[in-house]
Symmetry: C2
Subunit: 162 residues, 2 copies
DNA sequence: CCGTCGAGGTTCAAGCTTGAACCAAATGCG
DNA sequence: CGCATTTGGTTCAAGCTTGAACCTCGACGG
């Protein structure tokens, strides 16, 4: 283990620095737009949006957590806030009362509908519209691959010390 | 303004979802490794690492803030913690005493040196090693472009309402 | 049956981030 | 000059995230 690590070469470092910079800046830029225009964080928006795209506008909490890549703990806190604002409701799952589900309310639906255009415009402005369609395809592949590797690594880790 | 927005097509949405997922997961995966192995957040590491790569291991605070894409406020808080741990020092800039600089201490340098291999290994594991060299080049270009667009948008905004 | 284990969720304290308010030193600029 | 603005930086409260501890219920083994 204490042998000389494989450092990044020039290209690799350049790619990593660019990605790091994106990782720091893009989330706050998107957050800022949603916060200013709709008083929602990006994460809030993802939660509401995930519900809005589901038949019945309802999801079990753990399913929702995995869709938005969050811990149950974080989700639970966020749901509390969104519920207080009347954007969704928590209730026992009628199919299996030991589970809970989140249900988007009418107000929640309306808010997603109101927020979506501005959010999509921001995504276009920051990401999509500056890229060629080849680059968009490349982005899909690369981001998909990275996500997959992160997931696999997490799975390995939990297998090892779980 | 209330006209029908340009929604994302299939490819675009796929790319955006993949990128969003990356944005949520990669930072916490990298954070987790550094926190576990060196008791540093990714942001802490970037700060120390930026200093360590500079001649004199010193940077003016606002230069440092812009290198790590953070507000002065956030940087100031982080510097306070790192200074308390003895990893760096804040002192007036000798060239122009109205500025302050952060100086990496010996202990800070040693910590960066100790943390770097594990961090690079994580970057390889999560990002670099799963990509072809074409994909690495594409990633550079795409991430660079996105970052640039975010910066430009920020500049426009501040020009407009500044 | 009884114990215990895991899955689904919630809670709480500790820590981090954010934005607005603030201070001091320089730099206009009328 | 003299006042206002800008630049560099800090601070504080409010809000958000995290992880560990906890609770409950069903499943499973003995």
């Amino acid at each position: 283990m204490p042998e000389e690590p494989r450092w990044l070469n020039e290209c690799e470092r350049e790619a990593w620095l660019a990605l790091a910079s994106l990782m720091f800046k893009l989330p706050s830029a998107l957050d800022a737009q949603l916060l200013r225009d709709n008083d929602l964080t990006l994460f809030d928006y993802f939660v509401l949006s995930a519900l809005s795209m589901t038949p019945g506008r309802t999801l079990r909490l753990s399913a929702l957590a995995s869709q938005v890549s969050s811990s149950l703990s974080r989700l639970s806190n966020v749901l509390k806030r969104l519920e207080r604002r009347g954007l969704l409701r928590r209730e026992p799952d009628p199919d299996n009362p030991r589970y809970n589900r989140a249900v988007l309310t009418e107000a929640g639906w309306d808010l997603v509908v109101a927020a979506a255009p501005g959010h999509v415009a921001a995504v276009r402005r920051f990401v999509i519209d500056g890229l060629t369609s080849k680059q968009i395809t490349a982005l899909s592949e690369v981001a998909g691959r990275v996500t997959q590797q992160v997931n696999e690594a997490a799975a390995e880790d939990s297998r090892r010390d779980g």
